[in-house]
């Protein structure tokens, strides 16, 4: 009897930790956005039609709608979403620290960023394009910007893509924001604004002028997730596939960019793959 009791005691002592570790072993995959009940989503606050903070503190735009749709597919209702302004310079840090769970903010997938961030998507492939005054009919592609004054926005690389990468001899004129570029273009202080077509389309809506529709780069707008969240990334990719298959993507693109004169791609983009 004593032997049995002793054995039972020894067993309990041996069993408990083993049982606990057994349960722990069942969940080797790390915490994922796919498991959360509420999400903090990083967006831009100053990009018309993509991510804009309204005076009442809420956000609107294509990125906001995409994020809301994707979160819905992950099982997080609109009421449990918190949008947060996340500027370009702090995006990697915000994901690593966990101050945001997901970033949907014209966040281009690049080889360098992929070292620090796991990207789902892209949910849209934007292209660098050029916006000119309506009467500038001679500008048909990026080479026609030779000798023209183009906008150099502080902190943006778009002007480099024209002058340094395409080697087009245009003259950069420094302006603070793309909104100010548009004003300068209308006032004749500039000849062209060249950057991602979706960003241009957002600023162009309601302004006179012409999109030249001569795209020359691919900007893959991805959904930024914490590095290593492969399961979350795969779930987000499925959500994006659904978004294109059920017509939501087409509807959202038309809603935000339909009036800009931009040629929109309404077929699902080629995903980057979760790494």
């Amino acid at each position: 009897m004593r032997a049995i009791r002793a054995t039972a005691a020894a067993l309990t002592a041996a069993l408990l930790p083993a049982l606990l570790s057994g349960c722990g072993l069942g969940a080797t995959e790390k915490k994922s956005v796919a498991d959360k009940d509420s999400l903090v989503i990083g967006v831009k606050e100053d990009q018309p039609a993509l991510g804009v903070k309204r005076p009442d503190g809420t956000y609107e735009g294509f990125d906001v709608d995409v994020a809301t749709y994707v979160a819905g597919k992950l099982g997080v209702p609109k009421g449990n979403l918190t949008f947060k302004t996340t500027n370009s310079s702090v995006r990697e840090e915000a994901l690593a620290k966990g101050t945001v769970d997901m970033i949907v903010a014209t966040y281009s997938i690049t080889a360098k960023r992929k070292m620090k961030v796991t990207f789902a998507g892209p949910y849209y492939v934007a292209h660098q394009d050029t916006f000119v005054r309506a009467d500038a009919t001679a500008v048909k592609d990026v080479r026609d910007l030779k000798g023209k004054r183009i906008c150099e926005v502080t902190g943006s690389n778009s002007w480099r893509r024209v002058i340094e990468e395409r080697k087009v001899d245009a003259k950069p004129v420094t302006v603070n924001t793309y909104g100010a570029c548009m004003d300068a273009l209308a006032a004749g202080r500039l000849d062209a604004v060249s950057t991602d077509d979706l960003i241009l389309a957002g600023f162009a809506t309601g302004r006179p002028g012409r999109m030249i529709n001569a795209p020359f780069t691919d900007e893959k707008y991805g959904v930024g997730l914490k590095k290593g969240d492969l399961r979350g990334c795969e779930e987000v990719n499925r959500a994006i596939t659904d978004m294109y298959q059920d017509g939501t993507a087409q509807r959202l693109l038309a809603k935000w960019f339909g009036k800009s004169g931009l040629k929109l791609t309404t077929s699902v983009p080629q995903f980057e793959g979760c790494t």
Binding site: M1, I4, L15, D218, R231, E234, Q245
Partner: protein, 504 residues
């Protein structure tokens, strides 16, 4: 045998009541009453039996967890090694075949009436047809994998529908091309316009979907790998745990017998104990080794093969962008940019602060990639081959990677020369160079392709080896757990039988 029960440990068990053989019926009802009251536990044989029952129950539990864990191990090797894994790799062919179909069309339209340029008109058409057949075969694999996943099924269907439309558009472009009877590199606008429709459909709709099919099915395999692997490891923990329980119960039984009967060793029970240790250790060891094989098959095999097959498809597509660059001067800038983007996804050398353009890319390749020796810890480039380099150790894989990188640099040097001629206005010279009349451009690309294929083979072999090891480890484990448990059970019974016999 002398009956010599040990002096009872407190509380003293009452001596066994002598049975009354005269009245069998009363005897039976008495037994039942004894059992229900739990008085049988107060007898020595009752306690021995209780020990035996506990030991056997724990043994059955050990057998059960071992069987479940080995079942999970079998499932995992089946999924990754035999069913979904190879099928996912096969769907990768879809992207490659589609992309290469469009490349062949670009070449045909570029060479025009000069049917001997490049690999020749007839051979180009033959390759086109071959890729068409490969695309169909890969689509069948994808449709099978899609199973009950409606979104995936729909994607596969959309690719097949789109392929029909693509072929119609290509047919129109080819017809216009034949009618125009043009010189190489002087494709008329209406042919280029017709081709643009076809290639846009391919680039914007078919290829992304084909790529996503492999990614999505691959992610299912990855998830099932994670689940199965953690099930195998959890199973291992349970095997160790239940093995320990059996062990402790066997020891307890022996201690009880030692105290009760003053016998130091019970050979059968000692054997049973040793057998339990062996069965548990070998079972847990098998599961550990299995998890290792599966990890190797997935990381070093499956994942690498998929990555390299993407690198191959994208390289072919970039090579075709050279033809498109020459074919469609109106979009030359775009095709140059997509060529650069694709090249960057294959190898992205560290360019520092220099602008990311082709000129700096070529220079970066010569500086960073040429200086790199596979096996070095610091890898000065990103992209598919960067990922590959970071997991490469010295040996056969490193040699294959070194050859691939060298061949890739040669391909890029040809590209630089071709673009130099084109941007200097010598289109005919650029076409001749690209089509291999004045260079080894096509042969160099084929050499690169062969080197990349050899590198993929290294991973395929690693995959096959790991799966073979996993299969080999599990072979025979249908019978081992049950036989082992039966032997242990028999040894336990053999060990206590003489002790029980003393009470008859």
């Amino acid at each position: 045998m002398t009956m010599s029960p040990a002096p009872p440990a407190a509380p003293a068990p009452p001596a066994p009541e002598p049975p009354e053989p005269a009245d069998v019926a009363r005897h039976r009802s008495g037994r039942l009453r004894t059992f229900v009251r739990g008085r049988w536990l107060k007898t020595i044989p009752g306690r021995i039996r209780a020990h035996v029952v506990l030991c056997l129950a724990a043994l059955v539990a050990l057998l059960a967890v071992l069987t479940v864990a080995i079942g999970n191990a079998r499932d995992s090797v089946q999924t990754i090694g035999h069913d979904a894994g190879p099928q996912v790799v096969a769907t990768g062919t879809l992207y490659f075949a589609l992309s290469d179909m469009d490349a062949q069309v670009a070449n045909i339209l570029l060479i025009g009436r000069e049917h001997d340029l490049g690999i020749g008109y007839d051979e180009t058409l033959r390759v086109y047809e071959k890729r068409r057949a490969e695309a169909d075969a890969a689509a069948v694999q994808a449709a099978q994998l899609a199973g009950r996943d409606p979104a995936l099924k729909r994607t596969v269907q959309e690719v097949l529908d789109g392929l029909g439309k693509y072929e119609r558009l290509v047919g129109q472009a080819m017809q216009l091309d034949v009618q125009s009877d043009h010189a190489p590199g002087e494709t008329p606008t209406q042919v280029v316009d017709a081709y643009r429709q076809a290639t846009d459909l391919m680039k914007l709709q078919l290829l992304p979907k084909a790529y996503n099919i492999t990614l999505d099915t691959g992610s299912h395999v990855r998830q099932s790998y994670e689940t199965k692997r953690s099930a195998v490891l959890t199973g291992r923990a349970w095997v160790a745990l239940t093995g320990l329980v059996v062990l402790l119960l066997l020891i307890a039984t022996q201690l009880y017998l030692v105290r009760t009967f003053r016998r130091v060793l019970n050979p059968a029970l000692v054997l049973a104990t040793l057998a339990t240790i062996v069965l548990t250790a070998v079972g847990a060891g098998l599961l550990t080794a299995h998890a290792g094989h599966i990890r190797k098959a997935k990381d070093d095999g499956f994942a690498s093969i998929l990555q390299l097959s993407r690198a191959r498809a994208i390289s072919h597509s970039a090579f075709a962008d050279e033809s498109r660059y020459l074919l469609d001067p109106g979009r030359a800038d775009t095709y140059e940019q997509t060529y650069l983007d694709k090249s960057l996804s294959v190898i992205y050398p560290d360019l520092g602060d220099k602008p990311v353009n082709l000129e700096n890319y070529y220079a970066g390749l010569e500086q960073k990639v040429a200086a790199y020796k596979p096996g070095d810890k610091a890898v000065p480039f990103l992209g598919f081959f960067g990922d590959e380099a970071r997991t490469t150790d010295k040996g056969r894989e490193a040699d294959a990677l070194a050859k691939t990188l060298a061949a890739y640099r040669t391909v890029q040097r040809n590209d630089a020369r071709m673009r130099q001629l084109a941007s200097a206005g010598n289109r005919a010279g650029a076409v001749d160079l690209r089509m291999g009349r004045t260079s080894n451009a096509i042969r160099d690309f084929d050499a690169y392709d062969a080197a990349l294929y050899a590198l993929t083979t290294v991973h395929q072999d690693a995959f096959d080896k790991a799966i073979e090891d996993a299969d080999g480890g599990l072979r025979g484990w249908n019978a081992v757990p049950a036989t082992g448990a039966a032997v242990i059970a028999l040894l336990i019974l053999a060990g206590v039988r003489p002790r029980l016999a003393e009470f008859r």
